[in-house]
């Protein structure tokens, strides 16, 4: 069990000679939440595709644990308007039995949408559907590409919280890309700041003080992270209502997106 799920060893990807991902070393183990941050064009998505096995490496090696099941949550589900699709049918396409599909939808809080058309879902509901589809496969490793894109700010906090809860329940590894720095910082164990190469990595609190991080993201971002890395005395449910921290089964109390302290 102590075997890492995925190990990248000097992973390098070039597109027509231009370097996109530069000699990355990375280990993901069960229970880890690793967040990749970095400016646009830093190679975040390329790195994640290499982990997923849909982007061949130009150099270096990748090792996946034997029999590893990966659950992938892509950035968007762009559905052609000409393609009719219900949540139920979309889930069934994963090849997972119906009962397990329903359970996964319940876990991500969209169980009531089973019969709905995917076209009618909101941004947050779509992300939760994609997350449910990844969960239904009982993944050892969950890979998420900007999971909170197109989700409103309350929904974002709830979504990251959900990801952390799922990690605890499934005891899987999580690797994700995010731009929501302040939210991610509170919900993650390890941050990998990418700019082709790894510009810095470590615990969020240490990262926000790292000179390389401050150089990449600027002083103000770094300072705001220090502010946001705190603990709240309450939580919000899906609808943004305040819920007393003790009412939830979550052991995590952080919640961001509100200005009152």
């Amino acid at each position: 069990m102590t075997d890492p799920l995925v190990t990248l060893d000097n992973a390098t990807v070039r597109f027509d000679g231009v370097i996109a991902v530069d000699h990355i070393n990375l280990k993901v183990s069960r229970g880890d939440i690793i967040t990749i941050i970095g400016p646009n064009g830093a190679g975040k998505t390329t790195l994640i595709k290499a982990v997923l096995g849909i982007q061949p490496l130009s150099e270096g090696a990748i090792h996946r644990q034997a029999g590893l099941t990966i659950g992938y949550v892509p950035q968007h589900l762009h559905l052609q308007p000409t393609l009719p699709l219900t949540v139920k049918r979309f889930m069934a396409l994963s090849g997972v039995p119906a009962a397990a599909c329903r359970e996964a939808l319940e876990q991500t809080g969209v169980g009531h949408l089973l019969a709905a058309s995917v076209h009618h879902l909101s941004g947050g509901e779509r992300q939760r559907l994609l997350l449910a589809r990844a969960l239904a496969r009982k993944p050892d490793l969950l890979v998420l590409d900007e999971p909170a894109q197109g989700v409103d700010i309350n929904g974002q906090a709830a979504l990251y919280d959900l990801i952390r809860q799922l990690r605890d329940r499934l005891h899987c590894g999580v690797i994700m890309i995010s731009h929501d720095l302040h939210l991610v910082m509170a919900a993650t164990d390890k941050v990998l700041c990418l700019n082709q190469h790894v510009c810095c990595s470590g615990h969020p609190e240490d990262i926000s003080r790292d000179p390389a991080f401050i150089e990449t993201f600027g002083q103000s971002v770094a300072e705001s992270l220090a502010v946001y890395h705190h603990r709240h005395n309450h939580q919000h449910n899906l609808h943004g209502d305040v819920v007393a921290a003790g009412d939830s089964d979550s052991e995590h109390r952080e919640c961001s997106g509100h200005g009152h302290h």
């Binding site: 096995g53 000409t82 393609l83 009719p84 049918r89 979309f90 396409l93 090849g95 076209h119």
Partner: protein
Amino acid sequence: MAIIDTVLDDFFWRALLGGLGVALVAGPLGCFVVWRRMAYFGDTLAHSALLGIALGFLFQLPLNLSIALTCVGLAMVLVVLGRSRGLATDTLLGILAHSALAIGLVVLSFLPDVRVDLTGYLFGDLLAMTRADLAWIYGGAVAILVLLFWLWDGLLMSTIHEELAGVEGVPVERLRVLLMLMFSLVIAVAMKIVGVLLITAMLIIPAATARRLARTPEHMVFLAMGFGMLAVAGGLMLSWQADSPAGPSVVVTAFSLFVLVYSVVRRPQH
């Protein structure tokens, strides 16, 4: 079986049977054309069919075979060229579509011994359907439908989200090539029905009509098959009654069904 012989001896029944067979495969493939935004791609393959006819005369091959081979060849050229990013896809398709059509016409004009009824190839010659044509249509239809049924989930998943499908172990690239081969085959057989210029209509219009009523992808496929068959039957009746050209009559019927469904059902239900 005397009754089957009687039916097959009648050109009207042969035309109807052939048309229905084509509508059966055009339904699911047309859905993929609509879902994957491949309308222009279908047009390009159809245009190359005329080149196939010219090459068939030139090398004295059976026409169905040479059309299918030319379409397959062009589809493979498109797969390879599509991977390099030299030209935008629609530009590339536009160049190949019309060049293939023009080369076909030029080659045909160089064959003095061949007198070709161009109208028949451009707009279809449904009423001249032979028993051999019927064998081609139903052979191709069965092959395509079996393949589609077998590969359905993978094809659908890679249409919905290519990368997600790839991560889940769907052989996305191989399926794309296979789908193009199926298009080539259906175009080779559908040419007989509606001709080079109208094939894309047979693929797209029934599928688009079905979209308005469908709730799941599979539902849409069966509806598209139904609308396609209605269009064939209706078009043949129209052609019989009004002495109008059969191929265009089928397309006009398909279009009428489309307008009817879209004006009765005001917004997509799902």
